[in-house]
């Protein structure tokens, strides 16, 4: 799920950046450091939308670096247990498949794939129903439900299922075999 929240971060700036463009440089550094990272608590920081405030800088003893506390608004993405997401399948193997929804990787094990779907190996390994009507292969889009998330320092892993109602393939990739 996406959220728009205020986060705070202490940015350290080297004295060579001091001058007329101090705030611009600070903001540029913030964006470079923070966009695309993941924190366990808030999820993936997708984009910074604005700066709320920049506090007074504090000069650190010993070095000339100055620390500014910056409050900024950003869009974050964090998956939750029970959430339903659309994802793109990236890898299919006999244990299940891996799908990606933006920056988060979700694993759906074959225990949580409907029983009528069988694994077919080959050039393009896939899961297919017995009548061939529904197929899950690389680059298919699926709707899945997250049943577990585990948060690392820098990454979020999820387990998903497509065994419930209204879950499963949304669209097949263009090429059919």
């Amino acid at each position: 799920m996406f959220f728009h929240i205020v986060l705070e971060r202490n940015m350290q700036l080297h004295p060579r950046h001091f001058g007329r463009d101090l705030r611009d440089k600070l903001v540029a550094k913030l964006m470079k450091d923070v966009e695309g990272t993941c924190s366990g608590r808030h999820g993936f920081i997708v984009a910074i939308t604005g700066i709320e405030s920049v506090g007074k800088g504090l000069i650190r003893d010993g070095t000339g670096f100055v620390t500014f506390p910056v409050k900024y608004n950003c869009v974050v993405f964090r998956p939750f247990k029970g959430e339903i997401l659309e994802a793109v399948v990236t890898m299919v193997n006999k244990m299940g498949f891996f799908a990606e929804a933006g920056p988060v990787q979700i694993f759906v094990s074959n225990h949580l794939i409907p029983d009528d779907m069988e694994f077919q190996s080959g050039d393009m390994p896939n899961y297919t129903t017995s009548d061939g009507s529904v197929k899950i292969q690389k680059d298919s889009e699926v709707r899945l439900k997250i049943i577990g998330t585990r948060v690392d320092a820098t990454e979020i892993f999820c387990i998903g299922t497509i065994k419930d109602d209204f879950l499963g393939v949304i669209s097949d990739p263009g090429a059919t075999s």
Binding site: F3, H4, I5, V6, L7, R23, V27, R41, H42, I48, T49, G50, I51, E52, S53, V54, N73, R78, F80, K81, G82, E83, M91, N93, K94, M95, G96, F98, F107, S109, H111, L112, E118, F119, S121, D123, P125, I147, G148, T149, R150, D152, F157, I159, T161, K163, D164, D165, F166
Partner: protein, 463 residues
């Protein structure tokens, strides 16, 4: 992007919001009041009950507990259902889920945190994947049935000295310098199989016939790469051997995936041991699976490879020659693999295929090589060494020959390192074949009885 503090900001701080959502959506506490909204949406989705599995039951049970505080929108039939479920045990998923596997610390089936370290890690598929032993067995069975239906077996391939030969750039000798200095002048066959990997400081030469071999083998086998090299090296080599990523897909096993140090094992291969064949140049690393192994002759293209194994001769690159494409080791092994495959699938009837063991078939094929040969060894084993335990004796027996220590009329071959011994002279006298031990080894590698005249024994002093 404005630096002024004008953007709309929610009143609650971000930490509070995250904590609030965490608490609400955490299913450890089932009956939390805040889930009314979530439950309401789910209730409207409850149509006709279809088949139930554990997950659905759990969701319905939670809804039952909430419905005490909410207007009951459910139909009477679902109410009966839920009443029945809530009368059951406190938390069905905790006691009944067998936790078949663990992905990033969570059970693959129920999503709970599982912290145990049992089972086998499958790091080559994904670095956080572990499977319980039962699950591995179940998957193996299921996969075997699937593969047998497609008339395929499993093939595990080693990389170094089996399918290719690599050398560090620093070890390239002066005589081999032509390989990268005059690259354009090389013949096409050489150019297409010689690769320079600057970022890994290596040069790699693919064994002749390897592309045809892989293409033919992929029709009969599901293939794995299993190397003692490191993962990045393995992935690079796989890219060279399989640019389309069709042969190996995610089945590349490297050193870090071995469960026992310095030993390769079939425990990380998702295939039944009775249907796996292994192609490797080293026997020692396959301690427990020697019967599945087809030993390959080592491919030494680069000088550094020859030196590493203690050979003082010039390497193939220095001699500017190469193994024969149509007659080399890979072509021979391919024929053997095709033979084993056809024997496996033609002998067994469809129902019994699962009981067939590829190791038995391999033994049968091996026993045909030196069939009808009776061998006596002389001056080959150290004195006072029990002859039956010697590697050559065992190799000859595996190849179908009978070995003996006594000379008699039924003996066909005398294997000797010195033409001057009594037994050697007896062989010449009785017009029996007198051959060097290499004859047995060559027959082993080439899966064919070699012409005896190519392995004469010199009458010099013992080596």
């Amino acid at each position: 992007m404005s630096l002024a503090a004008d953007s709309p900001v929610p009143s609650s701080s971000s930490d509070d919001l995250a904590a609030f959502l965490d608490a609400e959506l955490d299913t450890a506490s089932d009956a939390s009041a805040g889930r009314e909204e979530v439950a309401k949406v789910e209730e409207s989705d409850v149509g006709d009950e279809g088949d139930y599995d554990l997950d659905l039951k759990r969701v319905k049970r939670c809804k039952v507990e909430l419905s005490e505080g909410i207007i009951n929108l459910q139909s009477s039939s679902s109410q009966e259902e839920s009443a029945e479920v809530s009368g059951g045990s406190s938390s069905p998923k905790n006691t009944m889920c067998p936790h078949p596997g663990v992905y990033a610390g969570m059970c693959m089936k129920c999503g709970q945190k599982v912290d145990d370290e049992t089972g086998v890690p499958f790091g080559y598929i994904h670095k956080n994947l572990r499977l319980a032993n039962d699950e591995v067995a179940r998957l193996r069975d299921k996969d075997l049935k699937n593969l047998l239906r497609h008339r395929k077996l499993y093939l595990v391939l080693d990389l170094d000295h089996t399918l290719l030969n690599s050398s560090r750039l620093a070890d390239i000798t002066a005589e081999e310098g032509y390989l990268h200095d005059q690259r354009d002048a090389l013949p096409d066959t050489l150019k297409s199989s010689l690769f320079r990997l600057g970022w890994m400081h290596m040069m790699t030469k693919l064994r002749p016939f390897v592309h045809t071999f892989l293409k033919e083998a992929s029709n009969l086998f599901e293939m794995y790469i299993y190397t003692m090299g490191e993962r990045p090296y393995a992935l690079e080599m796989a890219k060279l051997l399989d640019p389309g990523d069709i042969y190996f897909n995610s089945r590349i096993i490297a050193q870090g995936d071995c469960t026992t140090r310095h030993q390769k094992g079939l425990d990380v291969v998702l295939g039944q041991e009775s249907a796996v064949l292994i192609l490797d140049d080293t026997e020692a690393v396959w301690g427990k699976h020697k019967e599945n192994l087809i030993l390959m002759e080592r491919y030494h293209f680069f000088a550094s490879s020859c030196k590493h194994f203690g050979f003082n001769c010039k390497s193939l690159s220095e001699l500017r020659s190469d193994e024969s494409e149509t007659d080399g080791q890979l072509a021979t092994v391919l024929k053997i693999l095709q033979r084993v495959h056809s024997l496996f699938f033609d002998e067994g009837r469809k129902d019994d295929l699962e009981d067939q063991d590829v190791r038995q078939v391999l033994k049968t094929v091996r026993k045909e090589v030196l069939r009808d040969c009776k061998i006596v060894f002389t001056h080959v084993f150290p004195t006072n060494f029990p002859a039956e335990h010697h590697q050559l004796w065992k190799m000859a027996e595996q190849l179908g020959a009978t070995c003996s220590t006594k000379l008699d009329a039924s003996v066909t071959h005398v294997v000797s390192m010195d033409a001057g011994t009594d037994k050697s002279r007896w062989a010449v006298q009785e017009k029996k074949f007198l051959v060097h031990p290499r004859w047995i080894e060559a027959s082993n590698y080439l899966w064919q009885k070699q012409p005896e005249e190519n392995f004469p024994v010199t009458p010099a002093n013992s080596k």
